[in-house]
Symmetry: D3
Subunit: 250 residues, 6 copies
């Protein structure tokens, strides 16, 4: 059930059954020579919709832009500053908490969002306590990274081994190919791909990772792999969501 495709009376009805909501969050950032700039948002959105369907959960619009400052030396990247993203998340949760939602399950497609999301949750719990919103102590937030699902991780290892890498990975590219089979990009990839450099500022990042990939070979991705990753992530995250909102999981 997508929030954006619902009416407010439908939301009112939903809230009588459940006060949980799924919020997909991605990023709009370079993903190497053949990865889509929207990769992280696309993956988060498609998987969140799948989880919403399988659990009858409400799914909010996707936060398309996250914390990707370290990618901003590549054209097309858009990032919020962490201080901005904290306020955005606080605003989302505050509005929805006033509506009656209590359990916020962020399905996340970008590792760079995790730290700021966790900071935002802390900031928000404190904010809501100060507002004296009734029942504020029941508010719970969780970040669930689809790419860190055990089953997803195992499949990626099995299919790609070391070539999975850590950014512009074949697994995430595969999910975008499954979602947008007409948008599969190709390019000659340098077989020597940079890896192992820690992440600091944007200029430093591009210097070390000149084509944007971090140790990955996204040319290995296929739409069929994408569907496999999708199925695994939806299943695992559906269980996580049900556990999070206190319902028995299968």
């Amino acid at each position: 059930m997508l929030l954006q495709l619902s009416t407010w009376p439908e939301v009112e009805t939903y809230l009588q059954e459940s006060t949980g909501i799924i919020i997909p969050i991605g990023s709009t950032e370079q993903h190497g020579p053949i990865g889509l700039i929207g990769t992280d948002a696309i993956c988060a959105e498609v998987i969140a919709k799948g989880v919403g369907e399988s659990t009858s959960a409400m799914v909010s619009p996707t936060l398309n832009v996250g914390m990707a400052l370290h990618h901003t030396a590549f054209p097309g990247t858009i990032s919020l500053r962490p201080s901005t993203l904290i306020q955005v998340v606080l605003d989302y949760i505050t509005c929805l908490a006033k509506s009656g939602f209590t359990h916020f399950f962020f399905i996340n497609g970008h590792g760079g969002n995790i730290a700021t999301l966790k900071a935002a949750f802390s900031e928000t719990y404190n904010h809501l306590a100060h507002l004296n919103i009734p029942g504020h102590e029941e508010i719970k937030c969780q970040v669930a990274n689809w790419f860190m699902c055990r089953s997803v991780y195992q499949l990626a290892k099995e299919l790609y081994g070391n070539q999975e890498g850590s950014h512009a990975t074949p697994s995430e590219v595969a999910v975008t190919q499954f979602a947008y089979p007409n948008m599969i990009k190709t390019a000659a990839l340098n077989p020597e791909v940079a890896s192992g450099f820690p992440i600091y500022g944007a200029v430093n990042f591009r210097r070390h990772y000149p084509d944007g990939r971090m140790g990955s070979n996204p040319a290995l991705a296929t739409p069929e792999h994408g569907q496999q990753f999708y199925d695994l992530a939806v299943k695992e995250l559906s269980n996580s969501y049900l556990e999070f909102i206190g319902k028995k999981q299968e």
Copy 2:
């Protein structure tokens, strides 16, 4: 050309031809008993894509959540505070300006966004001047409201007369029906609809507009109307965009 479905080298190539970008911005807010909560974002996004296709312009991901604080007494509404939205817009433009974009054309689906967007543009011009980004004095932003296109306005008047109203209007609902023909909602609408009250805070708003509509009869909407509005808006905004970036318009 959608930014999220492009790669960074494709963006680099695009920037050699054009430094303009279209940014759809909507809202996630109640739209009365049968209007979708995502109405404003859906309209902005679908029309922006149309404009992007007809002008070969880059289109960024949609800002799904805007400034809708006055609707937050209805469940399901999500709003940024104006101070947050200003920082979000500033972050978007700053990142894209560093990429080389100079002309930012916001296709907007929500009247409540206009004031904050204009404030954000001023804040951003000043910010970029202080950063001494090369060529910052060429940065230009414009907000283009599809629902205020002359041709759109005339058709709405012709089709609906006074029943167009000013929120949860049949014209915007029609566009969403065109975009999502399977999500057409129905409900018994009170023929007496509130209208004419100025907008203040959220509690006050709901007291005066108990079902969320402002003077409108969205039951008049049809997907066929939606296509007509879409065609008119795309045509008119495409011309506006071309004029904005300094190309001759048809």
Copy 3:
């Protein structure tokens, strides 16, 4: 009744009769070769005092500095950033709301303030709701632009036609001449005056509007015109104010 010339017990007495207040807001910005830098603040202040007298309303001190970032490439301009002005307006209203005021009528002398004022109102309604100030849902703010009064607009058109322009206009200069007849400035004005360029950043503005005027011929202004504008604006805004606070208008 001017707040700054009242004592607190007088304010306490006033609040038993009325909870409305008029807040003049202007700007401190270049107004072309012969317009005063304080034009917008002077006009707002003098008209607000007139409205206060005719309606027995309390009038606060004038916000002399507003949102004029686009004029800052001309010496003498002072502007708040929109994010600052939002906090200023929020602070004003919060303090006065705690005093018991509920209706805030901003008489505005500067078009560039409108967007930020509206954003500030939204931010403030939300802020006050969170503070749980008793009766916060009765708080109402309105911006009333003297230069957009129908009668003012008609007189300007009648007196100046196209030479009214849109910045450093003869009508606003006339009001300042009426208010400060000893401060009438003269200079040789280029008969060719720039007009029609949209407003972006400060450097861009000065490049297109080299002497600061936007399509206007302020040399047409006279103090007598100023009095006429003053009379019309006071009459029209007095009615607006009375309507705003719920009293019958003449």
Copy 4:
């Protein structure tokens, strides 16, 4: 020379002679049963104008509202939060520094402003250094409190002794009577006036100072005293200003 009554070319001319500017700052706060709410702004403004005349200095519009949170339990008080006032002062100085002003002389009418002004100066020096405004290291700010002028202090002691007190003082009330002889207020003053309590929050303040006075007897004020205070303050602050901008003082 008042900035608001000047044109931008006049400011340009002024800057060739001097880069100093006087900024009056007051407060809009309760001043006991017979003191005007605008007392601090009125005193700062009238004295600043006098200093401007005697030194040919540019004088900016008055900051009418300052830091008076501790007075907000009395109706009619308007205060900025310190964090807001810091941004306001930073915006003023940044704009004027870009115009070419380098020496900012704040003539202050309210003790409660001093701490925040000093904090704002530090914040601003640092901000301007980061902006790399040419010549930022020449930017200098000073706060000059008219009521702390040695000659003023001595006259107050001589005229009123202990009844000068520390808020709603006869000396400041006298200056407002000099400036606005038609607005002299009277009321029965309790001869027992509270004094000696430190200042904490607003509720606490009103509890200890029930009529708003702090140890003062403003009934002693006369317009003639006001003129004397005015003359002394203008003379002493004119010397301070000339010394500040590096001109020989008389």
Copy 5:
């Protein structure tokens, strides 16, 4: 070499040899019935000093208060909000970067700081790039959690098994006992200790963890264990630091 016990010429000399600095960061938060409120700061500080000695690195004063909002339902806890801590870290690094430092090694004693620290680093890299501080692209920050050192973790497991828990752990208590042998506290500890609840807001935390411990038995701690942990952490982090600043490690 402790920054606070150095003179500025000594810092100048140091910078000719090295541009690295160690910044200890802890927390001031409840640590159960017998753990010191300063546990995390004490551990970070003592270990940072040890690392500073063994590597000849400069060590800054300890950030005693971190992000511990979830502990604020217990008396004595002090926490910064994440948004505040981000600004604090940004200020620290900006000042030190202007001095010439480039490598910032945060030795951290509190898991709750990690997310906000990482967000702060991203915010700061971006901030410094905008300031155009020369060599800003060489600025590097790293968070090193002493309690996550492999050797520390192994010893804790060996000594305490499951009774190590995850807050108010015997390992961290042991380090404080080693640092302050005269401040060893005792109390009757409930052998049933809560564990396994995720961390949300402060009220929720205290409800689930009534005495503040998370699955730990701090009564197992001894000063001798503390010394062992100290030795292991200093050794392992010294190597990490040397690697971070680009020197060969032993």
Copy 6:
């Protein structure tokens, strides 16, 4: 009683006896050729501990870094911006006020902190009133500068006369020598020491005060002097603290 060396149940017990707390605040800034960078924090901390012992008051961890932006042109200085320090102080007091503390006695070692601290107190009183923390109107903050104690001032004058100066003074250096007798630094000091220049920005400061001293001769300091200053400050501030929390002083 040091907060960091207490457990939360000990704090709970303390709060039944007293709701006062001492918060030492210093600075991390250059103190001339032989003064320690941590001088202000060291002095505040050691004296605060003394006051805590003599009055049985709780003492919080030291705020090591304060407002020292004007010293940032010397290497090793770390400063918060005033806007950051305000938020830090607000966070400290908010947390402790929720614990039940009501009287906040800041023992301060740095003149540059005073303005921002006072601004922070005002901001915080207002913030707490808005949060409706029970008993918020009892919250009281005070800044007590050890170096402005009458007895301290007199001894400094007696021992050093004009050579006390106003920064990197022999009196504060003496206290650090008393606290850290092994860290006494020596260097050839220019007998001509700058003095009398007002404080503006950092570059300006260093230009006028090339070795960092302001009119002082710290070579006069001895550890024995330090102990005398310590004893005097502890005695005087202990009385001030007891008076502040409403206990009879000796």
